[in-house]
């Protein structure tokens, strides 16, 4: 016989007969691939765009010199310009400036202004050259002009020659929009001013953010960098362009990796569904395959036949998935932005680029997992002895081989071991491996567990009496657990992931909520409208605030960014009043701290966040050097506090120490506690009446809390979406496998109808089987999910974001989901069992082949 023709007939016949399962399997692969692919596309696009945008700001410089803090004295500029080997030194002052009228969006109300000397920068970053009106080229070096990128103009709703009002500290600055930055990247929201004008108008005289260097031809970069770094001393950081990229990559790496992992989990669930579809289809056709073997089809031919089916499914599903993923990515970028609403990549508008090699890679992954899902049942089918397989009732024996408890136990054991391993490249690789092994092991253990569990239930069941439906259902689940378990695998996988994510997110949310209470103890917080590192309140403004009545207590904070390691994102330094005797009165401390009252009086204490411990290796009791003040000074690590706000690390120190070391008496923030008889509205009104009231950002702590939680929820919106998709895939799996099994059991139902089982009893039987199975799946999924959530909470989160949290389980929510899932599974089983009561069923008993 012509093997290819037979192969085609068989494939086509099978698919025509079971198109629903085929469609389900296709969808499962497609959705899995689509999730993974779209997340990859979005992440890559957002990251590349963010990186390109950052690069366009620094142009084609060879080296960058920065201070440890955000700004440094401009005296370095002539020194570097004349430094041997330097072809060009480009001084840059960069400020994030608050835009009046945009404050309601606290996360996104700043405009980045880059101050450049155009005569220097045009040779290194020509994209930053403003386009003036004809004849007004001197606007580029004027003191009252600003140039805006198209995205910034759109955001601010202004155009050329309009006046732009910006906050500078406590004052308002008016600038004329002299033109555009036509070469800014799409979505890049930046402004360019003359560096002298920016220094003057925004009260930053005498300081620079960075100096970009272009070296003379033939200068050895590495040697130059080393020499310069040693000449400049530890107050400065000399970084290459690659370092900058690494820094940017570091900033969002944890976020990107975690999102990718979630996408892979969706793919994993899809894979499992393919496996179950193929396995069931193969088992259902055991007799057909046995016949083929009897007719002279070789093992290899049979194997090829089944693998071919899988391959076809894989190719079609993966292609569908790629198309779907691309579409989803396009939509998501448009609707949610490149960071899916998390603000990890602010101020860019990335475009999705179809990248053939990556698409091929994902196609390969899709095909590979599908093939893998087909090969295992195919091997079993090919190995089966035809004579034995011809007999009915041997299906479950066949399935038994697919799942040995040993394999499952090994998976679980290795998973347990992996939870003990440290991160790799600061990523929780082993944590994720442990999660997948837990899932694989859990699913593999499922048949065994199902059989044992229902056997023991059956033993306790009043055997030969009562409800025949439950007896039949239990007997089936107890004695044919493998097919049942396969149906359950998808549900188990998706539900356990859902439980895990729900527990993790809830734990995180509850922890953040109580943390917010601790870090925002005051009633009202007042910042100057200018940002971060510009100390907004000079001493006289502080006195004006302190002189206000109606407040019990007012604390002033000085915050700024500090570079500890040029390869890492900056850390945040807080200088504020802290209870020196017991920091727990001020900060959300972990247990890791010096005994209260034991700080030597001559030591300057600092309290470091958990991220600092992980990233920089500082320990409580250590004496560390920090670049605070003119030179580096020694500080005593007095404790570790919990910080969910800054994953790159934060350090708290005493404001008095800070002021003594730096002489910088300005502060950024005032935390104010109301007197009992003052309302927050009254307080706000008083603050607004200050001479500089208009330039203040005033927030109630309740608003800040609400806002923070809103941002939190938005960040996890994508996670919820992924979970839902995983569950839908799981339900699709239940539908597919139940309808497959109903078909396989058609004779059984036919016989039962003959001997007097009612139609509705058949329905009840199916619903009972589906329901019981799902109930077990939910219970098991809960256990598995709980275990996974432990890994997420105690391993993945601390390792990737460097924060710890306590465990909180959202019982009500999980119960609701469980009930919904249970009902949908029973319903699914019912719907897919419609055929079990059709007229053909009756005839099936007599239509033996």
């Amino acid at each position: 016989m012509n093997a290819a023709t037979v192969s085609r007939w068989l494939l086509w016949g099978e698919w025509r007969a079971h198109w629903l399962q085929i469609v389900t399997a296709l969808l499962a692969i497609a959705i899995g691939i689509a999730m993974a692919f779209s997340i990859h596309l979005i992440n890559t696009a957002a990251f590349n765009e963010f990186s390109a945008a950052s690069k366009s700001l620094s142009g084609q410089s060879d080296l960058q010199v920065q201070g440890r803090t955000a700004f440094f004295d401009e005296a370095l500029y002539p020194r570097l310009a004349d430094y041997d080997g330097v072809a060009l030194a480009n001084p840059v002052l960069e400020l994030d400036v608050s835009v009046p009228g945009k404050q309601q969006n606290r996360n996104d109300h700043r405009l980045k202004i880059i101050g450049t000397d155009m005569f220097r920068s045009m040779q290194i970053a020509p994209d930053l050259l403003g386009l003036t009106e004809e004849g007004k080229t001197l606007d580029r070096v004027a003191s009252d002009t600003v140039f805006l990128s198209p995205a910034a103009m759109e955001w601010l709703q202004v155009q050329q020659n309009d006046t732009l009002q910006l906050h500078a500290g406590l004052e308002t600055v008016s600038l004329r929009i002299a033109g555009g930055l036509v070469r800014a990247r799409a979505g890049q929201r930046i402004a360019v001013m003359d560096i002298g004008a920016l220094q003057w108008r925004f009260q930053q005289l005498g300081v620079l953010s960075r100096i970009e260097l272009k070296l003379r031809d033939g200068v050895n970069h590495a040697a130059f960098k080393a020499q310069l770094a040693s000449d400049l001393g530890e107050s400065f950081v000399v970084a290459e362009a690659q370092d900058q990229e690494k820094r940017i990559a570091n900033m969002s790496r944890a976020y990107r990796v975690n999102l990718n992992m979630l996408a892979l989990v969706a793919l994993f669930t899809g894979t499992f569904l393919v496996f179950s579809t193929q396995a069931l289809s193969v088992v259902r056709r055991r007799q057909q395959f046995a016949l083929l073997r009897v007719l002279g089809v070789t093992r290899a031919q049979l194997l090829r036949q089944i693998a071919m089916e899988g391959l076809t499914l894989g190719v079609l599903g993966s292609l569908l998935g790629l198309a779907l993923g691309y579409t989803v990515a396009l939509l998501a970028i448009q609707l949610l932005g490149g960071d899916l609403g998390t603000n990890f990549f602010p101020g860019v508008k990335p475009g999705i680029h179809f990248d053939p090699p990556t698409a091929l890679l994902f196609l390969g992954i899709g095909i590979a997992v599908t093939l893998l899902g087909s090969i295992i049942p195919a091997l079993e089918a090919a190995r089966a002895k035809p004579a034995l397989a011809l007999r009915s009732g041997s299906e479950d024996t066949a399935m038994a081989k697919l799942s040995t408890p040993w394999f499952a136990l090994i998976c679980l054991t290795v998973a347990l071991l992996f939870t003990q391993l440290p991160p790799i490249f600061e990523l929780p690789i082993f944590g994720y491996l442990a999660i997948s092994l837990l899932l694989i092991g859990g699913i593999a253990l499922m048949p065994h567990f199902t059989g044992r569990f229902f056997s023991s239930v059956l033993r306790r069941w009043p055997q030969y009496r009562g409800n025949i439906v439950s007896t039949l259902a239990l007997a089936r689940l107890a004695n044919a657990p493998n097919q049942a378990a396969i149906a359950l695998g998808g549900i188990l996988a998706s539900f356990s992931l859902m439980v895990a994510m729900a527990i993790m997110v809830t734990s995180f949310r509850v922890s953040i909520d109580s943390w917010l209470g601790q870090v925002l103890p005051a009633d009202v917080y007042v910042r100057t409208a200018s940002s971060g590192d510009q100390g907004g309140f000079p001493p006289d403004a502080q006195q004006a605030i302190a002189a206000l009545s109606g407040f019990n207590r007012i604390d002033f904070f000085r915050t700024q960014q500090l570079t500890l390691d040029p390869n890492r994102p900056d850390i945040t330094l807080f200088a504020r009043p802290v209870d020196r005797a017991d920091a727990r009165n001020t900060l959300p401390m972990t247990d890791d701290m010096l005994t209260p009252g034991s700080i030597p009086s001559n030591a300057m204490p600092v309290w470091i966040s958990e991220a600092i411990v992980d990233l920089y290796g500082y320990r409580v009791g250590d004496t560390i050097k920090l670049p605070v003040g003119a030179a580096s000074n020694e500080f005593l690590v007095a404790g570790v506090w919990r910080d969910y706000g800054r994953q790159f690390g934060a350090i708290q120190m005493l404001l008095s120490d800070y002021q003594a070391l730096t002489g910088d008496l300005s502060v950024n923030t005032a935390a104010m506690w109301l007197q009992p008889d003052t309302t927050s509205d009254q307080a706000l009104a008083m603050l607004r009446q200050l001479p500089f009231g208009a330039a203040l950002e005033i927030s109630r702590s309740s608003d800040l809390r609400a806002l923070s939680l809103e941002i939190f929820d938005r960040s996890f919106a994508v996670t919820y979406l992924l979970e839902m998709i995983a569950v839908v895939i799981g339900l699709l799996g239940v539908a597919a496998s139940f309808s497959a099994q109903t078909l396989a059991r058609v004779k059984e139902f036919g016989m039962l109808r003959h001997i007097g089982v009612l139609r509705r009893q058949i329905f009840a039987l199916l619903a009972a089987e589906g329901g019981l199975l799902t109930l077990l799946g939910i219970a098991l999924g809960f256990a598995l999910g709980w275990a996974i959530s432990l890994i997420l909470v105690f391993i993945v989160n601390p390792q990737s974001f460097h924060w710890t949290m306590s465990l909180h389980v959202p019982w009500l929510w999980l119960m609701t989901i469980a009930v919904i899932l249970l009902m949908s599974a029973a319903l699914t089983a019912l719907l897919s069992g419609r055929r079990a009561v059709s007229a053909q069923v009756v005839r099936a008993v007599r239509e033996d082949w």
Binding site: R391, H754, G756, V757, L758, D848
Partner: protein
């Protein structure tokens, strides 16, 4: 016991299978029905079992017109008064032999009692009630099916080619067993078969043709 009154049955595609078929089967009789393939033996069995309804005519069993019952009533009638034996045995693989045999009792709301053990003994499977079907040969599976068909003392046993999957020696044993059990339980029996040897184990042999059911001449061809 069983009365067929002017039964006509056709199918959607327009093929008439049975036309105005009438027959009366007295209680306690054990008859064999033979006939060419496609003449309507299976259709007739489905109609008698209430699994299908005739286009016209009436089927009365033990005074009840099963052909006019709805599905539930017909099913209840079936579970109480019918016993079925199939060519492919149809023993549930995930139930033990005892459980399989006890099914009709449970369906009728009775307890599975000593009858199950006795029935196992009667069909020659004593002591194997805890076994699963996969451990059994074809002949043994059909013994289980016979036990299941008779455990609830049905009035009417329908056996559809019960030895089609068995070797001649085993077939003979099984046919003898069916006959013996039908007689022992005082039931009425209908055996549908192609085999003259099998048909010979019944009290009488009927030929189903397009003209209806007629007694076969002894020794004559079908």
């Amino acid at each position: 016991m069983l009365e067929l009154r002017h039964i006509t049955k056709g199918y959607a595609e327009g093929r008439k299978v049975l036309t105005d078929l009438s027959y009366r089967l007295p209680a306690g009789d054990y008859v064999a029905i033979m006939g060419e393939s496609g003449v309507g033996k299976s259709t007739l069995l489905n109609l008698i079992a209430g699994l299908d309804t005739p286009d016209s005519g009436e089927i009365v069993i033990d005074g009840a017109a099963i052909s006019s019952l709805d599905d539930d009533a017909a099913t209840r009638l079936r579970r109480e008064r019918f016993g079925f034996i199939f060519q492919a045995f149809h023993v549930l693989p995930h139930l033990t032999l005892a459980q399989n045999i006890a099914l009709p009792l449970l369906l009728n709301g009775n307890e599975a009692d000593a009858r199950v053990v006795r029935m196992l003994e009667q069909v020659g499977l004593q002591g194997r009630g805890d076994h699963f079907p996969r451990q059994l040969s074809g002949g043994e599976l059909q013994r289980v099916a016979i036990a299941r068909a008779l455990i609830h003392r049905p009035k009417l046993v329908l056996a559809d080619e019960p030895t089609g999957n068995l070797d001649p020696d085993t077939a003979h044993e099984i046919l003898q067993l069916i006959r013996a059990e039908i007689k022992a339980n005082g039931a009425t029996g209908i055996l549908v078969t192609h085999s003259h040897a099998a048909a010979a184990t019944a009290d009488r042999v009927l030929n189903l043709t397009k003209d209806g059911l007629q007694a076969a001449t002894p020794g004559g061809s079908a």
